[in-house]
Symmetry: C2
Subunit: 366 residues, 2 copies
């Protein structure tokens, strides 16, 4: 029986071979450069895919929330890092988890670290998040005074263990000169390592963004790479040059419910609740919420003729269809949609279906 | 104990009094015009809120998917209409549900209706969806030939019961002249009723969009009103003039994890996985992913000083904060975010917390 016989409603397909190849390629690259790969598991959010990753030497992962860290506990990860500025309202939950799992948190201010110094009952590591230009969060790379104060606070607690500096240069997603962003980020971490390693000889620096980790070949003395999206990639990453569309490992299978030959459109059951609403703007100014691929028993193929999701609402998706697609599709067929942002699509869908018909788990709920 | 003591992580709050007032106002308006209100339950997706609605005379609801219809079964609804062009791959599921629940589906083409005529084992009603200019889905209002063919197919099956015509004028969301759209939609349904009521004296016409139902006062001979979003409203509806911000019944409570006084920004745990990525463009061209309200034990209040979510990523939200907010907030506090699109936010969050500290259910998963 083909996996397609199990698909009645919108379903997120995962190609295990592509996923493994993506993990292996990044793992090989990290090894080639003498770096440790600590993938951000906010993309996959899965036990089973974690087991695949272990085949390529992955021993630690990063979570985007304490909820995800909780989900990933008990799988034998040597450490789970929660790479979101720590929320002190979740301290009891952190203490509970830390009883049985090595954890680290992310720190960007003294208030949070003071609170943890007073309220931690278990040992927890922490990275100081550094902002080298992205502007979303983190201690400014120039603010040594704040870094020094954070390190002083940590000394006051036997529960807090300083692990190093974490930098997510998210501006590689929208700044043209990605090499420059990457170089500045690398240099920032180098500067911090030079300044603090006499005092903290074991400190690690981690750099984590998929566009940088996928494309750059010079990582200097950075210790750890922490990209996330590369596990699946998506259309946004393909547009950024991080991957080709053939490297995209997940695809939303959607049923065709209507065909409009005059408008050259298909109506599919696949909307914002399935894909999320991330969008690419095409050269002609039109919006692209996902690209159509052709499903078969062995997976999916990217057709030479181009069709894409031109608009989505809560449940509806409208595909602008090529003549070839229009000529071959009928009501009740399934087509595949490559997502614009795979992390968000996986989060919406809450599970995967493998091409051999197995349900693959994903952390549920918010 | 205040409900706030239960909030450690991003949590969707619901104000029952506002929700009930919204349902009552729309129910009163429908009664005043002699129409039946059949709300679209894609917004609330909840048993408990369904029980509230029954207090205002609601006896039927609409679902956006068979999954939601399944969730709503067993609650005593006289009928559940699945207002999405029927997906024939879900026919077995439909047959199973229809054994114990009166259901209707939405039809836009002959292929689907032929399939149902052959494969239905239970009696199921259907509405023909009409497109009077929105352009997303539905039979063109001018295509009487297709309507006649659909009605012929239905006659061939004793399981298919024609119920009437359904029209969702979604273009009231972006076309300036909403009165004109509303009038055209009403006229389209009137035309169809005139043409077909001799043959089908019991046919109903249903018009369902929140901007039209909330604002217009002339519904002609339309039988049923089917808006959805009005149950909660949101910032988009406030911008469209369907409601005021005081009518918004849900609000995402988010923890403040960092404060940047130089940039006048707060970092909160509240991103695309919580709110969805719907966005409003403000007069100065900036983006607004949600508006800040002040939480208290009795609910939330809209402050005179304006703060809003200027950007979101998967988990992060960056608030552009007023001086007043900056002066009063500290790390670890909770603030509220009024959503841009409440249906999507509720779908992301998967449950609600009432102001008296009760968890309110929401249909889970896709």
């Amino acid at each position: 029986m083909s996996y397609l016989d199990q698909v009645f409603s919108p379903t997120l397909l995962i190609n295990e071979a592509i996923t493994r190849a993506n993990i292996q390629a990044m793992s090989d690259k990290a090894k080639r450069h003498g770096k440790k790969l600590v993938p951000h598991w906010k993309t996959a959010q899965s036990h089973e895919i974690g087991n695949w990753a272990k085949d390529y030497g992955i021993t630690e992962v990063t979570a985007s929330s304490i909820k995800l860290a909780e989900y990933l506990c008990g799988q034998g990860w040597e450490n789970i890092h929660i790479a979101f500025p720590f929320n002190i309202r979740e301290t009891n939950r952190l203490n509970r988890l830390a009883q049985s799992q090595s954890l680290s948190v992310q720190i960007v201010n003294t208030d949070t670290l003071n609170f943890l110094a007073t309220n931690l009952t278990e040992t927890v590591g922490f990275f100081i998040e550094i902002d080298a230009g992205y502007g979303r969060t983190g201690v400014s790379i120039h603010d040594f005074q704040l870094i020094d104060r954070l390190l002083e606070i940590a000394k006051s607690s036997d529960k807090l263990k300083f692990k190093g500096f974490y930098l997510h240069p998210g501006h590689t997603y929208y700044i043209q000169d990605k090499a420059k962003v990457h170089e500045e980020s690398r240099d920032a971490l180098h500067l911090l390592k030079e300044k603090y390693r006499a005092q903290y000889p074991d400190l690690k620096t981690r750099l984590g963004d998929t566009p940088g980790c996928a494309v750059m070949e010079e990582f200097g003395d950075v210790d750890e790479l922490g990209p996330g999206n590369f596990v699946f990639y998506d259309l946004m990453q393909a547009e950024l040059g991080s991957c080709t569309k053939n490297d995209i490992a997940v695809c939303l299978a959607v049923p065709v419910v209507d065909i409009n030959l005059d408008r050259k459109e298909l109506l599919v059951h696949g909307g914002g609740v399935h894909l999320a609403k991330d969008v690419l703007i095409q050269p002609d100014g039109s919006k692209n919420f996902g690209e159509v691929v052709i499903l078969s028993e062995s997976g999916w193929t990217i057709p030479s003729h181009y069709s894409y999701l031109k608009s989505i609402s809560q449940e509806h998706g409208v595909v602008k269809a090529s003549d070839e697609l229009l000529a071959s599709v009928k009501v009740g067929d399934l087509i595949g949609i490559l997502p614009v942002h795979s992390c968000m699509t996986a989060d919406c869908m809450g599970e995967y279906l493998s091409l051999d018909g197995k349900i693959i788990d994903h952390c549920e709920g918010q």
